[in-house]
């Protein structure tokens, strides 16, 4: 049997009312500190690998380059986050009172 034509709107899932935003489990400062720590670890790993390559222990050049690139990208991410935070801070500070 063919179903009778019904109104379109009833078939759409009901749009949920704006759910209250869950606060993040950790605060931003802790997150940033952890990211900086992460970047530091990556950089030191890359540094270790470069040293190993220099003394001939590690012969995998591409592995070293990939580590360097990963470290650089993590660094870039943290720098971008910092730029945005600083921008927001300056915007607030320039507010007329």
């Amino acid at each position: 049997m063919i179903d009778p034509v019904s109104a379109i709107g009833t078939q759409l899932p009901a749009i949920e009312s704006a759910a209250p935003m869950q606060p993040p489990s950790t605060d931003f400062a802790a997150w940033l500190a952890q990211q900086v720590d992460d970047v530091n670890t990556k950089i030191s790993q890359a540094d270790t690998q470069v040293r190993q390559l220099a003394v001939g222990e590690n012969t995998n050049i591409h592995q070293v380059m990939i580590s360097l690139e990963k470290a650089r990208m993590s660094m870039e991410l943290v720098v971008q986050v910092r730029n945005k935070v600083l921008e927001a801070y300056q915007n607030v500070m320039q507010m007329q009172v």
């Binding site: 995998n60 591409h62 990939i66 690139e69 990963k70 990208m73 870039e76 971008q80 730029n83 945005k84």
Partner: protein
């Protein structure tokens, strides 16, 4: 899907191509080795490539769609190539058999050369993929900076 899993897969590909190059170098260097440590002529080697992705992973990825593919890059396995030795008539050779034939390894320099080219290009392809992933990540970091 984390972009670093692309890097890991590319790294696995580069590792594999490096391994294939090593095996080719070994084969070419030993093309005239008539006696190894075991007294037999050198056996040419080959790299057999297996997928690092297990069927279970494949199923899970198919189910969840877009899961991380880290650790699913290719894995090379070095095996002896089943090629008959090249018989050369050299009666004065210390490794000659009773009929005066010396068994040289069945290394084919032409196919090894072709493999060298293929390995180089495949390595380049992996580097290209890596660079593409890196460029994408860097572009993503550019979001919002062009004012």
């Amino acid at each position: 899907m984390d972009i670093s899993s692309i890097f890991d897969i590319s790294a696995a590909g580069m590792n594999l191509e490096r391994q294939r190059l090593e095996v080719s170098a070994l084969n070419l260097a030993n093309a005239n080795t008539t006696r190894g440590a075991d007294g037999l002529p050198f056996t040419p080697l080959q790299v057999v490539v297996r997928s690092g992705m297990s069927p279970f992973d494949a199923v899970v990825n198919a189910l969840s769609g877009g899961a991380s593919l880290t650790g699913s890059g290719p894995v090379g396995e070095v095996q002896a190539a089943d090629v008959p030795p090249r018989q050369v008539y050299e009666p004065g050779h210390p490794d000659a058999d009773a009929n005066g034939f010396v068994s040289y390894p069945g290394v084919n320099p032409v196919s090894e050369m072709v493999r060298l080219i293929a390995v180089t290009r495949a390595y380049e392809a992996n580097v290209r993929v890596f660079n593409a992933g890196r460029a994408m990540a860097m572009k993503a970091l550019d979001i919002g900076s062009g004012r």
